[in-house]
């Protein structure tokens, strides 16, 4: 089975394309800071210079190096994506699992909770919390995002669990006297692994977009650099009016490419795991 997935995975064009783009940016996150000596915040050159051999992505209105800001901003994006997306996947999976597996009043309550959090716009809650929190870090941002982005995952996992629960092998396990936690760990979870991987990828992308939005309106981390913050400064300090495209194009493009590549990867994975889609 494993090999069969690998076989189709290696031959799936969407998967290969998506993964290469993500890996490219991941590599740039680690290698990028080594390529530049400039401090991302340092006023190191002539202001508002277009890209040149000296400053690959040009400089800001204050003479900061855009390339240095860009490569230093990639890390936090991946960090928030992995942490926030991971947390959202974890919470959503746990709640969805329990609701779907236990049923009854536990399901009712968890369902109610999910429905409430679905309705409350994530952004609004982050807005008010972030506004009152004096010191904010990437970690806190990721935790907030994770704690608010889980509901759709919980819903989807609940539905999956319900359909898996109805299958024979779970019945068999139950008849043979396995404990509920064991059934979930050994019978249900492995069957959902592929699904959870895809959920995580979507949450990863969503967290990056969410963080960029927060950073852009100035509610992101109070220290450090991020892609959203770059766009915030670019807009605030007249990059638009001055036509300084090199300032605002790279951060947004990187986000769009990373998140888009994640989505495409997801479609590819879906085709690999789902034979019905595969043989077209």
């Amino acid at each position: 089975m494993k090999n069969e997935f690998l076989y189709f995975a290696l031959r799936n064009r969407k998967l290969r394309l998506g993964l290469s783009v993500v890996l490219f940016f991941l590599l740039l996150t680690f290698v990028g800071p080594l390529l530049t000596d400039y401090d991302p915040w340092g006023y190191i050159g002539a202001p508002a210079q277009p890209p040149s051999a000296e400053h690959w992505f040009g400089t800001t209105t204050f003479g900061q190096d855009v390339f240095s800001q860009f490569v230093h901003g990639l890390g936090p994006a991946f960090l928030v994506g992995a942490l926030g997306g991971g947390l959202a996947t974890l919470i959503g999976t746990a709640i969805g699992f329990v609701a779907g597996y236990r049923g009854g009043w536990i399901d009712e309550i968890l369902n109610m909770l999910t429905n409430i959090v679905i309705v409350i716009p994530t952004f609004a809650v982050l807005l008010i919390i972030a506004a009152y929190l004096e010191v904010r870090s990437f970690f806190i941002e990721a935790v907030f995002i994770g704690c608010t982005a889980w509901p759709w995952t919980a819903r989807a996992v609940r539905a999956q669990t319900l359909s898996l629960r109805a299958r024979e092998f779970v019945d068999l396990a139950r008849i043979s006297g396995m404990r509920a936690s064991k059934i979930v760990a050994f019978e249900v979870a492995p069957n959902m692994m592929s699904y959870l991987v895809m959920v995580f990828i979507l949450q990863f992308g969503g967290a990056i977009l969410n963080a960029a939005t927060l950073d852009f309106i100035g509610l992101g981390p109070t220290t450090g650099i991020s892609l959203g913050l770059m766009m915030n400064y670019a807009v605030l300090w007249g990059a638009l009016q001055l036509g300084m495209w090199w300032w605002f194009v790279p951060p947004g493009l990187a986000i769009a490419l990373i998140v888009g590549a994640l989505y495409i990867t997801n479609v590819g994975l879906d085709e690999v795991f789902n034979p019905k889609l595969r043989e077209k």
Binding site: I116, G218, L219
Partner: protein, 329 residues
Amino acid sequence: MKRYLTRKLAIYILTFFLAVTIDWVIPRFMPGDPVQTMLSRANLRAEAVEVMRGYYLKAFGLDVPVWRQYLNFWVAVFHGDLGVSVYLFPKPVSRVIMEAVPYSLALLIPATVLSWIAGNKFGAFAARRKWLDNTLLPVGYLLNATPYMWLGILLAWAFGIALGWFPIAGAYGFDRTPSLSLGFILDFLWHWFLPFASLFLVQFGGWAIGMRNMVIYELEADYSQYLEALGTPRGLIRRYAFRNALLPQITGLALQLGVIVAGSVVTEIVFSYPGIGYLILQAIQNQDYFLIQGCFLFIIIGVLLANLVVDIVYIVVDPRTRRGMMGES
């Protein structure tokens, strides 16, 4: 149907209750003294500090027991009293918000509704049509992955600065005052177009992709296969598939509302469009906490109302909910 609606309403009422509570709790129980923090951040002149301190103490009502404070807060909310804006002192927050709302709605509603309709139509059309489908997939996913503000920035730069076709700031020219004259309306539309387009495009990608996937799923469904085996023309099968795929897209709209609101906030910021989003930026930059709280409450109420509208539409469109055969979505 009655059950379906009451269930939904119960959730919305509970959510509203929770939202008001959050709005009350967070300023009071976050680490630190909110009044002191606000005053020190607000950067006021010395005599203003004293006035503001007095005002804040009274506004927060910190001199009565906690349960009393909470009750008072509810009373204030129902009276539409959300405090006074610091940034536009002494305008009441509710009035500041009400003045901004029309601009936000003028952007949000057309962009959301039109992109939903157009995206669904296009997605359904492209599904299973090789050439279009191969174009739609990457473009749609990329659009959907684009941060709203970035697309806004790009459009502003390309069509506002580089080409100079559209203005990129405000809802109308500085030399105009709002009126119903043709000149003003044209000027308004001219300012409105770019922010609208950027909101429209990002959402369009998402709806088109979603619809394409749903239609393919429906075309694979047993009922489609059966119709095909009975020699039914493709047109009818596609029509059924489209209609059935539309239902999850309606639910999807409700799920996306939060993201769309966030998108419109940042879009307004990019275009300095005087709606709620721009207000939020001003409130944050000026440490205007009552205004932030007011915006929070307002967004929640707006999203709840929009959810209700979506629910009603769903009941109208899906015969099964009308016949009371589905407990919930």
